[in-house]
């Protein structure tokens, strides 16, 4: 198939960016979107033009490294699919495809389609863990976890940290990412001791980088793991309780 790409090119974080147009001819429809970009990059290199910089790694939809706005939709808009698993058979011959980086103040562009998502790491560092040193764990079957609870925790834990939720949100909010981690840990019995400290620290850190949630639901539609916005409700509930409980603890001290 023959395609026209309009690709965002930007030499560096503080440099101006602009769209450039490239022809992508004779692309196999069995190629993935990133393989199509590989082919374009090979040709650009041979023409003496700098190839397009884009993040990618596992190419099987699990590492969360890749993430491109394709025709205005994070990962191209195929339900439950990361950019690396989007295949060219989903496009039509002669299509014009607009290719951009995630657009969010919390994710500054590093070069072309590559952005800096380290704000997500800061949110996890604030409390996205269960504090158990190696060596101090009890026998694994000592604490039974109802199957339904463990399945729901797994639904939340499936987040790959790609940032599509932020890119899709008109407010650039990171509620779905944060909620997925909070819910994963706060649902499990192992996560209870730090439950309220965790949610407060993570939400407060999140707000330093990202906008506010106003319930558009775009994040769930864009999520390559189809993570439910129900988890945001859970996040909000725990956050409100945390503010009350944690404050009460302060007044006691």
């Amino acid at each position: 198939m023959d395609l026209t790409l309009r690709v965002w090119r930007q030499a560096g974080p503080d440099r101006p960016g602009a769209f450039e147009e490239y022809r992508a001819r004779e692309i196999s429809e069995d190629a993935s979107f990133l393989e199509m970009l590989d082919v374009v990059n090979e040709r650009l290199t041979l023409e003496g033009k700098e190839p397009i910089t884009f993040d990618h790694d596992c190419r099987e939809g699990i590492c969360g490294t890749c993430g491109i706005m394709i025709n205005g939709k994070p990962h191209g808009g195929q339900k439950g699919t990361a950019t690396c698993q989007l295949h060219m058979r989903k496009f039509g011959n002669g299509d014009v495809i607009v290719v951009e980086p995630w657009r969010a103040a919390g994710f500054p562009v590093l070069k072309d389609l590559m952005v800096n998502r380290s704000a997500f790491d800061r949110i996890i560092e604030a409390g996205g863990y269960i504090g158990v040193d190696v060596g101090s764990a009890p026998e694994a079957n000592l604490i039974p976890v109802p199957k339904a609870v463990s399945e729901l925790a797994m639904d939340a834990a499936a987040c790959i940290g790609c940032g599509a939720c932020v890119a899709a949100c008109p407010n650039n909010a990171a509620q779905l990412f944060t909620a997925a981690k909070v819910a994963h840990l706060n649902l499990l019995p192992q996560g209870q001791p730090e439950r309220f400290a965790r949610v407060e620290a993570m939400v407060d850190t999140m707000e330093r980088f990202f906008g506010s949630c106003t319930n558009h639901g775009e994040c769930e539609a864009a999520c390559p793991k189809s993570i439910s916005i129900d988890f945001i409700a859970l996040l909000n509930k725990d956050y409100v309780r945390a503010k009350r409980i944690n404050r009460a603890m302060v007044s006691r001290a």
Binding site: L34, K49, C58, E60, Q85, I124, Y129, A137, A140, G161
Partner: protein, 638 residues
């Protein structure tokens, strides 16, 4: 040179305990005086860095990924083994040890493998406490499934995303230490040189992949947890960035490289579809629990699989290996599939795969149970191929997946360079000539959470009161100059072909001659052909841009340059090993019915190779393997 693995004496089951008691300790207030560098943030690296931080050491951790959460451990699908015997089906530490030694075709150390089996249960405890959402029974206890090469159900799993969940556990533990200030994290930062001063590891030289800045970091000890080298084949199940550079640079600085030819070809991957293919996607081995593998009996069959009647199908694994059936170990399953495809029985439009069929399981278990077990894998398959596995069988074919070879390490996981450690897939230690499914996660976490943090103290204790070599030492300046020189030469070639073109060509040679079946003639040809292509690469590669900002082609070129050197060593090792064992199949050495023929009298050793300079024949040092607790038998899964 003599190799001493420093395996403790005494009965097998007591070695690790006795060794832990014998090792010197570092007292809690002294730990913050020691600096340790960890390179890589997969299960082994993130696990080690987090644990060292918890213990109170000062840790620096480096990854080339944009976050510590992304290393390729994340792609492991099926599960992690442990000998909990929750299923009451006869499992034990000794059985896990025995299965792993046998599965590795008797080319690993008894003491290491036994320790791995002993630690397996603690890993499950630790991961569960961290909140890893393992699959559970309705009563709330942990669930298990079975995997290739075993007759018990000992594999713990989190849907088809076990590696992801275990890695997130380690990543979160690491994030906690970063928050606590014990660990400093450097992301988008690639290690390009190991620095050795007075024969000991003193630090590393890294390149900031955003600014291009080259910098030096020193420490009392350096831990490499940088994964395997399957991308030497270009097409593999590894992530695109996986590479050999960190351990190859260590090898060039004196660390012996063990068993480089022991590579694992995974039987259940999606076959290649065209020339642009950039990687091969694994379909978890767990699928073999409920899927049946078959080919049509007729050559070049073109009928739809559902139109081929039962009596015209060949369920070749069930036919050849009735005891283990579809669950034979990976090497056996891979070779059996290759044999059918080579005989013209391959399926798909390119006739390059075999069927993995769920029709019977769907009828027996129902759609819902199959979806619960494998739903995400089925979806992934459909996204990639455009075919629905609920309606027609999957097509699968073997692909390079894991490398059992790696840096030689002793029982403490230290390489032949004092103070330099290799853990996880980067070392050679535990899987012999073939790794069993669900054992990689087990080994990575055993090394990272439990073994390295214990053994490294034994080394550090002797350095109490000494500061690390400062990064101002001339050895660091020399290493930085070498890195810059390498980078500049690659950029200066300004040739006519891309990095990927060379990588693809190299991969074809390695796959053809050092892949699933190897011959002396083919290996000699590869050893002659690779240097010619390597020379062309350095002369004719084209990399645009500079080294002073993000340059992905430059990053790849550095890795491919090291793959060229490694590939030659893989072929030399394969040529030297005149036997077939595990993933290493020499066509000259097979039984009349085509099974691997080991030669225990002459080759029951670890082949550890030294580096004597570019283009110079490497020296071979042998570590003879002693088997006191298992009897060496021909592996039979019949």
């Amino acid at each position: 040179m003599q190799l001493d693995a420093r395996i403790p004496g005494g009965p097998l089951a007591d070695k690790w305990d006795a060794h832990r008691f014998a090792l010197p300790l570092v007292a809690p207030p002294n730990r913050r005086r020691f600096e340790v560098i960890v390179v890589g943030t997969g299960l082994a690296g993130a696990g080690a860095a987090a644990t060292l931080g918890e213990l109170g050491y000062q840790v620096k951790v480096f990854t080339y990924n944009d976050s510590n959460r992304r290393a390729h451990s994340i792609s492991a699908q099926g599960g992690i083994n442990a000998s909990k015997d929750y299923r009451n089906d006869g499992d034990s530490t000794h059985r896990l040890f025995y299965d792993t030694i046998k599965g590795g075709d008797y080319r690993s150390r008894e003491a290491n493998v036994y320790r791995l089996a002993q630690l397996s249960n603690e890993i499950i405890d630790q991961a569960t406490a961290q909140g890893v959402p393992f699959a559970r029974e309705y009563g709330g206890t942990l669930a298990n499934r079975s995997f290739g090469g075993t007759q018990v159900a000992r594999t713990f799993y989190a849907r088809g995303q076990t590696g992801q969940q275990l890695l997130l556990g380690a990543y979160q533990a690491l994030a906690r230490q970063i928050h606590a200030g014990t660990v400093t994290s450097y992301t988008r930062c690639e290690m390009l040189e190991v620095v050795v001063v007075d024969g000991k590891a003193a630090g590393v030289v890294v390149r900031d992949m955003v600014t291009g800045e080259i910098s030096s970091h020193s420490a009392h000890a350096v831990v490499l947890a940088t994964g395997g080298y399957s991308n030497a084949y270009f097409l593999s199940t590894n992530a695109k960035a996986c590479n050999v550079t960190a351990i190859w640079r260590a090898h060039r600085k004196g660390a012996l490289f063990a068993n480089p030819c022991f590579t694992q070809i995974h039987p259940t991957c999606i076959p290649a579809s065209d020339e642009f293919q950039s990687k091969l996607t694994l379909m978890s081995e767990s699928l073999r629990n409920d899927g049946r593998i078959w080919v049509p009996q007729a050559e070049r069959e073109t009928r739809h699989p559902r139109d081929i009647p039962e009596d015209q199908r060949d369920y070749f694994l069930e036919r050849r290996y009735p005891a283990f059936g579809n669950l034979v170990p990976r090497d056996v399953a891979s070779r059996a599939a290759k044999r059918e495809v080579d005989a013209g029985k391959g399926v798909g439009s390119l006739h390059n795969g075999v069927y993995l069929d769920f029709a019977e399981s769907l009828a027996r278990l129902g759609h819902d149970v199959v979806t619960e077990r494998y739903g995400n894998l089925f979806e992934m398959y459909e996204r990639i191929t455009g075919e629905n596995p609920y309606e027609m069988p999957m097509r699968i074919y073997p692909a390079p997946h894991y490398t059992m070879g790696g840096l030689w390490v002793d029982y403490d996981l230290m390489t032949t360079v004092p103070g330099l450690y290799a853990i996880g897939e980067a070392n050679f230690a535990d899987h012999g000539a073939n790794r069993l499914g669900a054992s990689a996660l087990m080994q990575g976490l055993a090394d990272g959470y439990f073994i390295l943090p214990t053994t490294v103290a034994g080394y550090l204790a002797g350095m109490l009161g000494k500061k690390p070599v400062p990064p101002s030492h001339p050895a660091f300046a020399a290493a930085e100059a070498e890195v810059k020189d390498r980078t500049n030469r690659l950029l200066a070639a300004k040739g006519s072909r891309t990095v990927d073109w060379f990588h693809r060509e190299l991969g074809k040679i390695v796959w053809d001659e050092c892949g699933m079946a190897r011959t002396a003639d083919g290996l000699r040809k590869a050893i002659a052909d690779i240097p010619a292509l390597q020379e062309e690469f350095h002369r004719d590669v084209r990399i645009l841009g500079s080294g002073e900002d993000i340059n992905q082609a430059l990053e790849r070129a550095g890795r491919v340059a090291d793959f060229f050197e490694l590939a030659q060593l893989m072929c030399r090792d394969a040529l030297n090993r005149e036997e077939s064992c595990g993933g290493h199949f020499r066509v000259e050495h097979q039984t009349p019915d085509g099974e691997a023929l080991r030669n225990d009298d002459e080759y029951a050793y670890v082949a550890a190779w030294g580096f004597d300079g570019p283009g110079v024949e490497p020296t071979l040092v042998k570590e003879h393997l002693e088997f006191e607790n298992v009897e060496l038998k021909t592996r039979s899964y019949k």
